[in-house]
Amino acid sequence: MKNLSGFALGILTAIGAFVDIGDLVTNAVVGSRFGLGLTWALALGVAGILLFAQMSGRVAAVSGRTIFEIVRERLGPRAGLANLVGSTFINVMSLTAQVGGIALALQLASSVDYLLWVPVAAFGLWIVVWRTKFSVLENVTGLLGLTLIVFAVAVFLLGPDWGSLARQAALPAVPSGEQPATYWYYAIALFGASMTPYEVFFYSSGAIEEKWTVKDLTRSRINVLIGFPLGGLLSLSIAAGAAIVLMPQSIQVTSLSQVVLPVAAAGGKVALAFVIVGIIAAIFGAALETTLSSGYTIAQFFGWSWGKFRRPANAARFHVTMILCLIIGIAVLLTRADPVLITEYSVVFAAVALPLTYLPILIVANDRQYMGEHVNGKATNALGVGYLVIIMVAAVAAIPLMIITGAGA
């Protein structure tokens, strides 16, 4: 049951991590307002998720246990429930945003009203979750999503001043017209978006879906080493394109049209066609990731049977949960609420969920009863502890900064 491109899981996880609809917009906003001055925050996030996804993959492959089981087992039911509530809110709101994104893209392509596309998009998503094999799901969306490389190509075609871009990245400064508080808000937002808990929930459950064992540890390493840096590169390209095209003209990013403007400017209609395919595939992939993560987290907390490798009849509560989440998503979108806005406020829940997710992973990765000889080395532990400190600082600062800056206005 090994798939064709052995690193599809890493790529699909990274797509949800770096180029879902929230990230597409945020990266363009950041590029248009701060240039490449927040590259360090993105890089920090890429390294962090790489470290912890690799740990999660290793724990799943060696012990057969997934992250949310471990969260509850280690932290107990109270902290586990707090994490579950926070993570479920993030999962469901992200899922809602992605479904909205798919509906928006379909509206652009067809001029049929967005609200009519919402149930169609949700139903299409459900059919894939219900019937498609996990490996098909990851291969198709992963490969199609890679067409987003056109963002990177566009940056080259635009022939920018590389020295100036490099200086922005290496010597970050708050541009005139922006507040330091807003700069730091976006730094935390980028870092938090890179390390959103549903990425490790999905990656570790995906490892079990793919039936990874101790023999697949190298495969897991390849997956994270290819997937997440690639995802980070795509994010960076979006920001760079915005820095080159939007920033000098102070163009505000309010929708996907501004996000793809640099690509259209660089490569015309052909490039635009590629990027639209990529965006739809990426948002669909992110939608799959968040839908499945919603099911994984709840089922694993309560000990229900789960998994796409089982027939729906043998994982009934898992599938019912996901159906309910999709229905909630449709309901929220039908109120004409702006889901991208809601995902920004889910920062509040991320502040709770992030430390309560990554601490148990680090601890269990050191537990010989789970890992045998595959426990963390000293370097991994040092990095892990370092990241926990950063995560806690970010968690404490996130909500005050969100209030002060009005969520980055």
């Binding site: 012990s63 509850r72 039911p77 429930l81 219900w130 094999k133 049977s305 027939r311 009934a316």
Partner: protein, 132 residues
Amino acid sequence: MTDLPPPPQATGRLLDAQLHLLDRSVVDRNDVPVTTVDALEITDIELDAPIPRGAPAPVITALLSGPVLATRIFGGRPPRSRLERIRWSDVTDIGIVLKLSVDGDSLAVTWVERWMRDKIIARIPGGHHDPE
């Protein structure tokens, strides 16, 4: 960390409730998940009465699951009739997960799963097929 003496040598394998048993996953004999251990049932201890020295110690009689989780988090206890039990004698292996010697379907605790399977999943086409 501590200068206390070690306790007398144990006569068997030691299990701490919070560490090894509570909140652990329970799987049936085919490794299909059944539930998580929400609470443990032990033989009764008489409250408010002195415990005679040398009286037999309580033993674990069952794993508990279900509404008892809410009371464990928030306090209180559910009435005896609402407790969902898995007999301790059905537990065959205690490792990272607790393994049972029986099929999940034969247990009372899986009634919600079976209900959902029969009432909801069975009504949707394709529910009994392997994914393709």
